[in-house]
C-alpha cells in the first residue's frame, strides 16, 4: 500500500497535528487541458500553501479556478505537474487512495451549499464523521460542538428546507470542518448569498479556520470575499500571479 | 412391516401350529362346508400322504435335531399349512383363493441365541403354490416338501426352503410305517368327538443334507419327526392352546403327547402315543398325560411367558424336557396371526429336575449326570392369547 504512511483514519489522526516542516500543499508545473477547449486551462501552475494558511484565488469565469480546485481535491487528474499534499504526491495514488485522502484531510464548501434535504442539520454535519467511521458516541457531540461554534447550535434538529441561505452555508462550513481537516476547499461560498450574509459567512469561515488551524483555498471572483484571506493570488492565463497580502486591507 | 395378512379369521381354522382353534363364527361357517372328521375311517396310504382339500385345515410338520461337522447341535422346523377358504366358489379366475398355503421355517442355533425364521403365505394356484392330493408334495414358490416311496416302501422326503437369511436343504428317510395316532389315526382334541383330526406321525426320520447360514453351506445330519394332520373343526371353544411334544427316544421308541389347556390355563384334554422299538404302538387317553412346567422364559420381544422346561408324565413314565436354547419363539403373526414357541428339547430321565418349582425364573441347572433319554420338539401355543383367531 503506497499510502500506508498516511494517517488515513480519524483515530490515527487523533493527536493534534503539529505544523509539518514541509508546506501543506505544494504544486509544481501543473498543466490541464480539456479536449473540448482547444487551449490549456492550466499551463504550468505553481503554488505553495503553508499549514493553516488561508489563500484566496481570484479569476475570470473560465480561468480554471474550479479546475484547480478539483485537481487539488483529487477529483480530477492533471496532464502534467505535481501536487504534493501533506508530503504525498497525488500522482502516485489511485482514485480510491485520493478519495480516502480527501475524506480524512479535506473539507468542502460549495456555492450551492449541497446540504442534504432529507437529513437533519445535525445529521448533515455528522456525515463526514459517519464516513470516517468515527466511534458512534463521538459523532453527535462533535457535530453539535461544531454547529455551536458556527452559531447555529439551536438548529440541530431542523431540516434544511426550513432554513435560510446563510444558515445553510453555516451548516456547510460546519460540515467542512467537523472532522478537523487540514485543508478546506471553498468554491464561491458566498455566490448565492446577499452581501450582508456573505460578510458574516466569510467572517465565520475565517474565524473557524484560525480556530482549527486548517489551511484553506477560497475560490471567488468577488474582491470582497478574497479580501478575507491571508493571501491572494490571481489565476490568469493558466498561471497564478502573486498579489500583496490583503490581510491588513480595510474591509467594508 | 405391518402386513395385514394376519388373522385369517375367515379361513378360520387356524393357521396356528398343529392344532387349530375353530372357535369363532367364521370357523363354524367354514366347518359347515368342509368335510367333518369322524372316527372309524382308516387311513389309506399313499393317498393320505397327500392333501385333503375338502377339509378345513391341514399341515405337514417336520421338526428335528441336526449336527454339523463339529457335532454342534441345531434344531429345525419346516411347516406347510393348507387352509380352505370357501370363498370365490364360483369365481373362474385362476387366482381365486379357494385354498391358502402357509409355510413356516426356522432354525435353532445356540450360537445365535434366537431363531432364524421365515414364513410365507400364498393362495394356491397357477402351479406356484399347491398341495398335491396323491402324495405329500406341497410347495410355495421355491419352498417345497415332497415325499416319495424309498427303499422298502418307507417314506423318503425331500425338503428345500431357501429362506430370507438361511436355506434348509434336507432329506428325511423313514425306516418304518407311519404311526397312526389316536384310534387308527382319529385323534380327539376335546371332550366332544367333533373336535378331532386325522393324524399320523413319522418318527425317527434320518436326516441328511445341508444348511446355508450367512452364505455358508454346511453339511448336516440328524434325526427328525414328521406330523401330518388334517381336520375341519378343531379346537373346542373352551380351549386356550396346547403343549405338544414329540420325542425320538434313544431306545428306539417314539413318544407323542399333547395337553390342551382351558381358558384358565388348566387341564382340558390330553392324548398321546408311544411306539416302542419293536413297532408296537400304545395309545394314551386324557388320564394318562400330565405336563408340569418347571421353568419359564419371557420373550423380550413379545413379553409372552412360555414354560420352556416341563415335566411330562405319560402313563408310568416321566420325562424332563430341557430346551436346546430358551429363545425359540416363532413370530407368525403376519401369516397366521399367532405367536408360539417351537423348540428343540432334550428328554431327560424323569427325576432329574423334579425338585424345581414351577414358575421359577431360571432354567433348572442340568446335572451333567442327567441321563438323556432322547431328543425332540416341544410346542407351546396360546400363551399370548387364546387361539381364537378373530
Amino acid at each position: 500500500m503506497p499510502h500506508a504512511s498516511l494517517p488515513l483514519s480519524a483515530t490515527a489522526s487523533e493527536p493534534a497535528p503539529r505544523p509539518p516542516p514541509a508546506p501543506l500543499l505544494c504544486i509544481q508545473g501543473l498543466r490541464k487541458s480539456y479536449a473540448a477547449a482547444n487551449s490549456a486551462v492550466l499551463e504550468g501552475l505553481d503554488l505553495q500553501l503553508q499549514a493553516g494558511e488561508y489563500l484566496a484565488v481570484m479569476g475570470e469565469s473560465g480561468a480554471g479556478k474550479s479546475t484547480l480546485l478539483n485537481l487539488i481535491a483529487g477529483l480530477d487528474q492533471p496532464d502534467e505537474g505535481r501536487i504534493v499534499f501533506c508530503g504525498t504526491d497525488l500522482a502516485g495514488l489511485d482514485d480510491d487512495a485520493r478519495t480516502r485522502l480527501r475524506r480524512v484531510h479535506m473539507g468542502f464548501i460549495f456555492q450551492a451549499f449541497h446540504v442534504l434535504p432529507y437529513l437533519t442539520v445535525l445529521q448533515n454535519v455528522a456525515l463526514p464523521l459517519d464516513l470516517l467511521r468515527t466511534p458512534h458516541g463521538e459523532r453527535a457531540p462533535r457535530a453539535l460542538a461544531c454547529l455551536e461554534r458556527c452559531g447555529i447550535g439551536a438548529l440541530a434538529q431542523r431540516y434544511p428546507h426550513q432554513l435560510s441561505g446563510g444558515e445553510l452555508q453555516r451548516i456547510a462550513i460546519a460540515r467542512a470542518l467537523v472532522h478537523e481537516p487540514r485543508l478546506v476547499l471553498a468554491d464561491e461560498p458566498t455566490g448565492n448569498l446577499d452581501a450582508r450574509t456573505a460578510e458574516q459567512i466569510l467572517q465565520l469561515l475565517r474565524d473557524q479556520l484560525h480556530a482549527t488551524g486548517a489551511g484553506a483555498i477560497l475560490i471567488t471572483h468577488s474582491a470582497t470575499a478574497a479580501a478575507s484571506a491571508d493571501r491572494l493570488l490571481r489565476l490568469a492565463g493558466g498561471r497564478l500571479a502573486a498579489r500583496t497580502p490583503l490581510a491588513a486591507a480595510p474591509r467594508t | 412391516m405391518r402386513v395385514g395378512v394376519a388373522c385369517l379369521a375367515a379361513s378360520a381354522v387356524a393357521l396356528a401350529p398343529r392344532l387349530a382353534a375353530a372357535t369363532d363364527a367364521h370357523a363354524a361357517d367354514s366347518a359347515a362346508t368342509a368335510v367333518a372328521v369322524v372316527p372309524g375311517r382308516s387311513l389309506q396310504f399313499p393317498r393320505d400322504y397327500g392333501s385333503h382339500p375338502q377339509f378345513g385345515i391341514e399341515w405337514w410338520y417336520v421338526t428335528g435335531w441336526l449336527y454339523d461337522g463339529q457335532h454342534h447341535p441345531l434344531g429345525f422346523q419346516i411347516t406347510f399349512f393348507r387352509v380352505k377358504t370357501d370363498l370365490d366358489a364360483d369365481n373362474p379366475s385362476a387366482f381365486a383363493p379357494r385354498q391358502l398355503l402357509i409355510a413356516h421355517c426356522a432354525l435353532s442355533d445356540p450360537a445365535r441365541g434366537h431363531l432364524w425364521q421365515d414364513q410365507r403365505i400364498r393362495r394356491a394356484g397357477l402351479g406356484l403354490a399347491q398341495a398335491d392330493e396323491g402324495d405329500t408334495h406341497v410347495w410355495i414358490d421355491d419352498w417345497q416338501l415332497q415325499r416319495r416311496a424309498g427303499p422298502g416302501g418307507a417314506s423318503l422326503y425331500e425338503a428345500r426352503l431357501p429362506a430370507a437369511d438361511f436355506t434348509l436343504d434336507l432329506t428325511f428317510s423313514a425306516h418304518a410305517a407311519p404311526v397312526r395316532n389316536g384310534e387308527g389315526g382319529f385323534s380327539q382334541k376335546g371332550p366332544a368327538p367333533r373336535s378331532a383330526s386325522y393324524y399320523y406321525s413319522e418318527p425317527h426320520l434320518s436326516v441328511r443334507g445341508s444348511i446355508v447360514r450367512s452364505g455358508r453351506r454346511v453339511p448336516v445330519s440328524g434325526e427328525a419327526w414328521l406330523d401330518h394332520e388334517w381336520a375341519s373343526e378343531y379346537l373346542d371353544p373352551k380351549a386356550q392352546g396346547w403343549d405338544w411334544v414329540g420325542l425320538n427316544l434313544d431306545d428306539g421308541s417314539a413318544l407323542m403327547a399333547f395337553e390342551i389347556r382351558d381358558r384358565q390355563g388348566g387341564f382340558y384334554w390330553a392324548g398321546g402315543s408311544l411306539r416302542d422299538a419293536s413297532g408296537r404302538t400304545r395309545t394314551f387317553g386324557p388320564a394318562d398325560i400330565a405336563f408340569t412346567p418347571l421353568a419359564y422364559w419371557r420373550s423380550p420381544r413379545s413379553g409372552v411367558r412360555y414354560p420352556v422346561s416341563e415335566r411330562v408324565r405319560v402313563g408310568p413314565a416321566q420325562y424332563t424336557l430341557a430346551p436346546l436354547m430358551q429363545d425359540q419363539e416363532f413370530d407368525a403373526r403376519v401369516t397366521a396371526g399367532a405367536l408360539y414357541w417351537e423348540g428343540a428339547v432334550r428328554a431327560e430321565a424323569g427325576g432329574a429336575a423334579a425338585g424345581s418349582a414351577a414358575g421359577s425364573a431360571t432354567t433348572p441347572a442340568h446335572a451333567s449326570a442327567a441321563r438323556i433319554l432322547g431328543r425332540g420338539y416341544l410346542e407351546l401355543t396360546g400363551y399370548d392369547r387364546p387361539l381364537s383367531l378373530r
Partner: protein, 864 residues
Amino acid sequence: MTRAAQPAGGTAWVSWRLLIRMQLREHPVRMLVTLLAIALGVALGAAVYLINADALAEFDRATRRVIGDADLIVRGPASGFDERLFVALARDPAVAEASPVLDLQVALSSPPRTPSTQGAAQARGGSFGDEPLQILGLDPFRAATLQPALIGALAADVTHLFDHNAIVLSDAAAEELRLRPGDSLPVAVGSETRVLQVIDVLPTDAYPDALGIMDIASAQWMLGRLGRLDRIDLRLRPGVDLARFRARLLARLPAGVVASTPRIENGRAATATRAYRVNLNMLALVALLTGAFLVFATQSLSVLRRRVTLGLLRALGVTRAELRHALLGEGAAIGLIGSLLGVLLGAALATLVLAYLGADLGNRQLAAIGASFGVHPLAMLGFALIGTLCAAVGAWLPACEAARRAPAAALKAGDAEPLIARLPTTAPGLVLLAAGALLAWVPPVYGMPLAGYGSVGCLLIGAVLLVPRLTHSVMQALPSTGRVVVDASVAQLRGSAGSATVSLAAVIVSFSLMVAMAIMVHSFRDSFDLWLVKLLPADVSLRAAPGSDSVRLSASEQQRIAALPQVARTEFQHQQQLYLSADEPAVTLIAQDITAGSAADGLPLLERATGPVPPGARSAWISESLHDRHAGEPGGWIELPLAGRRERFFVAGVWRDYLHPGGAIVISRADYIASTGDRTATGAQVWQRPGADATAVDAAIRAQLASPGAVQVLSDSQLRERSLAAFDRAFLVTYALEAVAVLIGLAGISMAASATALARRGQFGMLRHLGLLRRQVLGMLACEGILTSVLAVASGLALGALLSLVLVYVINRESFHWSIDLSVPWSELAALSVTLIGAAAITALWSGRAAMGSDVVRAVREDW
C-alpha cells in the same frame, strides 16, 4: 446518526443508508412500484413452481405407493396381457417376488350420487363428464412385499378382500364418491353393471388420490378381465444385474408388453409435463426480467436525479467502488424485499390456485388431485435469490455509470439535467438480433427448447439496445409543425434519445412479450378450433366412459345404433393405449373408419407418404409427436403390437394431434378387427337424418345402450364448446401472466413519465416564466407521452411479432410436439395498443400536473 452500529464496510454502508433513506423520502411510490414488479415476477415464478412441485409430488407419491419397492414394472397395453406371463416370471430364478396387478380405469355406472357429488366431480375439472375410478386388483400376499405401504394400510384382515365383490377405497375416493364401508358401488363393465361392496376405507395418508383396491381374483372376475393382467411388479434377487435382466426380459416379453424401472415410470410422468412446466416457469422468469428492466429504469433515472447527492458523497470522500456498492446494494435491497414479498405472494397464490383450480391448472396432462401443500424452503430461497439478483443486475449499469461520473460537474451551481448525449452504437444490438435469429434454428436440448428461450432473450435485449438510435432517427425525421408544444416535445425526445432507452426498455420488453403471447395463444386457439371441426365432423359423439378401460360398445349395441331410423350414418372407433417401446410413454391407438383415399377427409393431415401404398400393406397415420420422436417416417414402416403380435403398418401420413401428448396412431378399424378380433368400440360419430330432433336422437341412442350411464352422448357442437372452454382454462395462467405484463408495462410508462416530469420541473417553471400557459406545458407533456408510447407500441408490436414467430414455430413446436398455424389477433392487438398509448398520455399528464405543483415557479431558482 444514532442508528445501530455497523461492523464493517462502513463507508459504503453509510452511503447505502443515506441513499435508501433519500429514495424512501423522495420517491416512495417509485420504489414501491419497482418493488412490486420484482415481487410479482418472483410471485409468479414461485407460484408456478409450487403448483407444479405439488402436482409432481402428488404424482410421485401416488406412483410410489402403487409401484412400491419394485425393481421392475412389466406393463402391457390397455387390453392387458395373458396371466401366464406372471407364472413364467414368478418362476424365473432371478425373480425374488412377482406381484400380479390389474390396473383399470373403471367407469362408475349411474352411481348412487347426489347432485352435490356431481358438482364436485365437475369442479375437479373433469371436462368430459365423470371420471373413471382407478381400481387395482392385487394379490395382497404378493403385494405385501412390493407395496408394503398400500397393503399395510388395509385393515388387519385381508381375507375380507377375498369376497368376490369386495373393494377397499382410498380416503380420496370415498370422499369423492361419498361412500362408506358397507355402501355399494355400481360399476360399468363391458355393457353391464356390476355392484361392488365397499368393505373398508384406507387411512388418508395411505394414498393421496382416488383409488379402489380389490383382490386380483375378484377384480379379474368382476371387471371382466379373466386370464388377463395389466402389470407385474418384480423384485429381483440380490445380486441380479438389473439392466442385464431387463434387457433379457425385454427380448422375451410379448409384443406390446414392456418392462421399466420406477425411475423410468416417474421420468415418464415428468417428461409428459416437463415442457408445460418449463414454459410456465420461463414465462414467470420473463415477468421477472421485466422487473429487472424496471429496476434498471428506476435506478438509471434515480442516478440522474440524485447526481448532486452522489457528487457530494464523492467529494466528501466516498470512493467509486463504495458508491457503486452502495447503489448496487440499493437495487439489491429493493430486489430482496420485493423477492421476499414475492415468495409470500407466490405461496398465497399457489394455495389459492390449488384450492380453486386444482394442481393441474385445468391442464389434463398434469392430472394430479389433492391440494396438500408442501414447503420448499430451498426452492423459495432460490426464487428470492433470483429476484434479488435480477434487481442487482438491473442496478449494475446505473451504479457503474454513477461511479464513473465526475462528481465535480454535478456540484456546480445551476447544473442542468444531463442528457445521455452519446448514442450507443448499433453494433451490439444488431449482433444480438442476429444471434437471436440464429438461435431459433438450434435444435432442442434434452427435449427442451432452451435455444428458443435464448433466442427470445437475445431478440429482446438486442431490440432494446437499438431503441435509442431508433428514437433519435424517428424524431429527427419528424417535420417541424410550427407549433411550439409539439416541436418542443420532439426536440426534447430527440435530445434525450439516450435516456429514452431507459424509460422505454421496460415498456417495450413487457409490451412485446404481451404481443407475442397474444399472437401465440390466438394462433393456438384458432388451430385448435379448426382441428376440432375436423375431428368432430358429425352431429353426435358417443364416448364410452371416457378414459375408462372397462366400458365398451358391444357389436350388437353398434348395430342397434346404426339401425336407428333417426341415424343417417355412423362411424365407430376403438381407442386404446399401447407401448411402442419400453422407455417411451404409452401411445394411443385409434382404429377408425378410414382408408388411404379418405384419410385427408377424416384427419388433419400434415404430410403424406409420397409413394403409393405398397400392395397388401395396411396403412397407419402417426401424430406429429410420434413423427418428432422418430417413431416413423411417411413412406416407412411402423410396428404395432396388436393382440400380442408385432404387426407391420405402412406409415401413410402424419397428422396434427392436440389430444394425446404421448402420441397417437390411426389405423383402419377393419385392419384392427382383422388383427385382434375385437369388434367392440369405445366411441362413435353419429350423423343424424335431416330433420331429426337432436334430443330425440340422443334419447334413441341412449335407449340402445346396455349401461347408458357409462356412455357419454354429446352433440359435436357441445363437445367443441367444452373443449374450447377447457383450452381457455388451460391458458388461464398465460392470460394471468399477460395481465401482469400489462401492469408492469403501465407501471413502467407512468414511472418514466413521472420521473422525467419531476426532473424537468425547472424547465417547466422556466417555460411558465416565458409565458407558456399551464395548459400548454401539460399539452407538451401529453404529446411527449403519446410520442414515447407510440414509439414503444410500434417497436413492441414489431418485436412482439418477431418473438411470436419464435414462440409458435420453435418453442411451442419443441415443447409440445404439435404445430400451430400463425394467426394474428388484430383487434386484440389494436385494443392493447390504444390502451397503452392512452394510459401513457394520461400518466404523463397526471405526473406533469403533480410536477407543476405550487412551487414550480420557484424551481427555476434551484434545480432541486
